[in-house]
């Protein structure tokens, strides 16, 4: 038996394993802390304003000019958001999409915002018609990390709005929804839509875009 050669092979294998571990560690280390700059625009020391849009297709936003792999899927134009800690985030959402009834009317309420209300096309409301919802913006904390953050805002649909053109697509004139919430310390949160807008035959509309990361879901990093 060629001991030294065997040992060499053994060492090489272990080193390969260690290398993979190091690589993984590097990938981990390089991901979180060096996230891109803030997605919101600072308006004061304690406030930051965040712009979001929802489209009935993917031609706008993060999926590229042609809409990426699924140009017909509904999308938020952004997915991974970064906001500062201990700040009031003033969110404005332009809602370009149609819609229908919620699976669970619970989500017609405005929850977790400052004052428990939102401004829908200039009107302050605390809940809207559950049968005319385009999407929701529902933000929650990751389980058990000791932080609590729950914000859920319904985004009403409106087919009656006149059509306007953005880029290559024609969209209804948007509903404008404004609301604010306060961030705590640093951490990562998840947001997604709770209106079944993902067209699936059976699972009540939670398929396709709803079940794919980066269309109707994303993260919110507080730093």
């Amino acid at each position: 038996m060629n001991g030294s050669k065997s040992l060499g092979i053994a060492l090489a294998s272990v080193l390969l394993g260690g290398g993979a571990l190091a690589l993984a560690g590097f990938a981990l280390a390089s991901d979180t802390p060096h996230q891109a700059a803030l997605n919101c625009v600072r308006t004061s020391a304690t406030a930051c304003s965040l712009q979001l849009s929802t489209y009935p297709d993917s031609l706008e936003g993060a999926h590229g000019k042609t809409g990426g792999a699924h140009p017909t899927w509904v999308t938020y134009a952004n997915d991974n958001l970064v906001v500062p800690e201990n700040t009031t985030i003033n969110v404005t959402i332009h809602q370009y999409d149609g819609g229908g009834s919620l699976n669970d009317p619970f989500f017609d309420q405005v929850m977790g915002t400052i004052g428990g209300t939102m401004v829908y096309n200039g009107k302050t409301v605390s809940h809207v018609d559950p049968n005319n919802i385009g999407h929701t913006f529902t933000l929650r904390n990751i389980p058990g990390n000791g932080k609590t953050l729950f914000v859920s805002v319904p985004l009403p649909a409106d087919y009656r709005n006149p059509t306007i053109t953005i880029g290559t697509g024609q969209y209804p004139k948007p509903n404008i929804i404004k609301f604010s919430f306060k961030t705590g310390g640093p951490g990562t949160y998840e947001w997604n839509c709770e209106y079944p807008c993902g067209d699936a035959r059976v699972s009540s509309g939670f398929g396709y875009a709803m079940s794919s990361f980066g269309y109707m879901s994303g993260t919110l990093t507080v730093k």
Partner: protein
């Protein structure tokens, strides 16, 4: 040593084979791609593009094209067509199909020689274990700390689903595939399997299915775990269609293989080789194959129904049309639990075999060993609903299924009795197979006992769906089955290659994997007890320490497996020569030359006793 068949065949050698002369893995892939493309074109033209299921239909038809084309290309349809036309194989054809005088090329062809098929199974298993192992490392890397860092949850979900399914496929064939094909026919004194062409069919259908499964990753993955419980399957992209097709084809492969093994063992034994004299591994092979024949039709059925639900809008598992996910769960677990024993039994049987040979002592209470394996297989078809204790389905049946499940611990306990009884007062030769076999014993007891907890409904009400379950079945699948598979590989490696599997590297690998398994899965038990759910891409900070330990353990396992891979590659070509009977064993596979010639035996042996009478003269050297 040459066989009579070879003597008669020299003149005919140049004529046989027909179409098969032009077919190999290359034409199979070409055929698969060509047919997939053609079927895709046809599907695009014939299916309704406005339909809800258009993408599913196109993908399903494309997948069917790949499989049919692959089978054409490899030559799976040659036999049926020749049968239809009444042009049966001549002797020269059979010889060509058996890979006579084709050198290495025969490993890339529809070769009927059971030894070639066995080697092909080794390679396929190693490939699947490799892919599944990489996915496991990706999973553990993501779980190194709370939060999604390495991959997002969608990619993670795809990882766990594919890891699960690939590993299940790999383990189903890991021992029964190579060894029920390579050594089993020689063990019972047969010249080949009962149906050599079905043997090749079972291997190449598996390859066609496994390649589809890998393709699932390319079309967006599978995002609901390998059990693909309805109705969430409905939300998946077209990956689910390819997955279901994979399983349908895999069920065909294992049914064909199972029929072959059962027929071989029942009808091909040589004179005097009674069922009480066959090496104990043969009993493992036959109970496994018989169980597979019962189980996999359910797998076939459930995935066909999934395909119909997705492609033609039927309502088997969909509540809106009167279906229910519980039907899917029932059909799935009717397959799912027997399948666990399809995986486990060959490992146990291989360990019996190794224990007897290495302890220079007969299997202790052969009848008990057989009864335990047969009893386990029989019981396993009565316990499926223990996977559904918390599903809400038929709560009144909880008690009965708990009873059947816990009774399983009796035959399982007998495995330990047989193993320890065989080793007790033996003269145990501590070589590589023995060491891995001891690893099997140590891990299997943990896997077995934690299974008893989960069979108890009050405990299952807390631990179901947690990492505790994951750790439990990984102790069975990694700690036991994989150890049994490596032991079997180390044991029969010299028969395949004429060389020993490198002892030194093998031992390093053993210690790395053994320690790795304890670190990984004991910590995982702790995560589960603390309340960490399975299949989550991120977890609460209270689970961070145990998960970090688990990940470190997983990397230790990976290092060990890489060392093992290095040992296999090194030893295959340059290992220490072993001679035909390195373990001084007594069963027939060690009596033939290494490598065994085509058709194994020149003169058919006549058997007068079982293979466990070790005699002094056998060790003189």
């Amino acid at each position: 040593m040459t066989t009579t068949l070879e003597h008669t065949a020299v003149a005919e050698e140049s004529q046989g084979g027909g179409l098969a002369r032009y077919q190999n893995a290359g034409t199979a892939v070409a055929g698969g791609v060509l047919f997939a493309f053609l079927f895709w074109l046809i599907a695009r033209k014939t299916m309704d593009p406005t339909g809800e299921a258009f993408n599913d239909q196109v993908t399903t038809i494309l997948g069917c094209g790949w499989i049919i084309g692959f089978w054409f290309g490899i030559g799976a349809f040659n036999g049926p067509m020749r049968w239809l036309l009444g042009r049966d194989h001549s002797r020269a054809d059979d010889l060509y199909y058996a890979g006579h005088n084709q050198g290495r090329a025969r490993y890339w062809k529809y070769t009927t020689d059971h030894k070639v098929v066995g080697v092909q199974y080794i390679i396929v298993t190693m490939g699947l274990l490799g892919v599944g192992g990489l996915l496991a490392m990706a999973i553990r890397t993501e779980l190194i700390m709370p939060g999604n860092h390495f991959v997002n949850q969608q990619v993670y979900n795809a990882f766990i689903s594919l890891h699960g399914m690939i590993m299940i496929l790999a383990l189903i064939v890991a021992i029964a595939g190579p060894w029920a094909n390579f050594v089993m026919p020689i063990m019972i004194g047969a010249r080949d399997m009962a149906f050599p062409r079905l043997n090749a069919l079972s291997l190449w259908t598996l390859v066609s299915a496994a390649s589809l499964l890998v393709a699932v990753a390319a079309v967006g993955g599978l995002t609901m775990g390998w059990v693909v419980l309805a109705p969430i399957t409905d939300q998946n992209g077209v990956g689910m269609d390819l997955f279901a097709l994979t399983i349908v084809v895999f069920a065909v492969s294992s049914t064909v293989g199972g029929v072959n093994v059962v027929c071989t063992i029942l009808t091909m034994r040589t004179k005097g080789m009674t069922l009480e004299r066959v090496p104990i591994f043969v009993w493992g092979a036959i109970t496994t194959s018989a169980l597979a024949l019962y189980a996999f039709p359910f797998f076939f059925l459930v995935e066909v129904l999934q395909l119909l639900d997705r492609n033609v809008a039927t309502s088997f598992f969909v509540s809106g049309g009167g279906g229910t996910g519980w039907l899917q769960a029932n059909l799935f677990w009717l397959m799912g639990h027997p399948e666990v024993y399809v995986i486990l039994t060959p490992a146990v049987a291989a360990c019996f075999e190794i224990a007897a040979v290495m302890a220079r002592k007969p299997v202790f209470s052969y009848r008990t060993a057989v009864a335990a394996m047969v009893g386990l297989s029989g019981l396993s078809i009565l316990v499926w609903a223990h996977h559904m204790f918390t599903s809400g389905w038929a709560p009144t049946l909880g008690g009965p299924f708990m009873v059947t499940t816990e009774i399983i611990s009796i035959p399982t306990g007998l495995f330990f009795l047989v193993l320890i009884g065989t080793l007790w007062r033996g003269h145990i030769w501590m070589k590589l197979p023995t060491i891995w076999m001891f690893g099997f014993i140590a891990n299997f007891i943990i896997g077995g006992i934690t299974g008893i907890y989960l069979s108890d409904i009050p405990i299952d009400n807390q631990l179901h769906g947690t990492m505790f379950v994951t750790a439990h079945f990984h102790y069975i699948f990694v700690g036991s089955v994989l150890f049994g598979a490596v032991a079997a590989l180390a044991f029969w490696f010299p028969k395949v290659t004429g060389r020993f599997l490198d002892e030194f590297l093998g031992r390093i690998s053993f210690w790395l994997v053994f320690i790795g398994v304890q670190v990984t899965f004991l910590a995982m038990f702790a995560s589960g007890l603390k309340g960490m759910p399975r299949r989550v891409s991120s977890y609460s900070v209270i689970f961070d320490h145990t998960n970090l330990i688990t990940t470190i353990g997983a990397y230790i396992i990976m290092s060990g497996m890489l060392v093992l891979l290095g040992a296999i590659i090194k030893s295959w070509g340059h290992g220490e020569p072993s001679g035909p009977n390195p373990w001084h064993a007594n069963s027939l596979e060690w009596m033939v030359p290494t490598p065994p010639p085509l058709e194994n035996f020149d003169v058919m042996p006549v058997i007068t006793e079982d293979p466990y009478n070790f005699r002094e003269e056998m060790v003189r050297s």
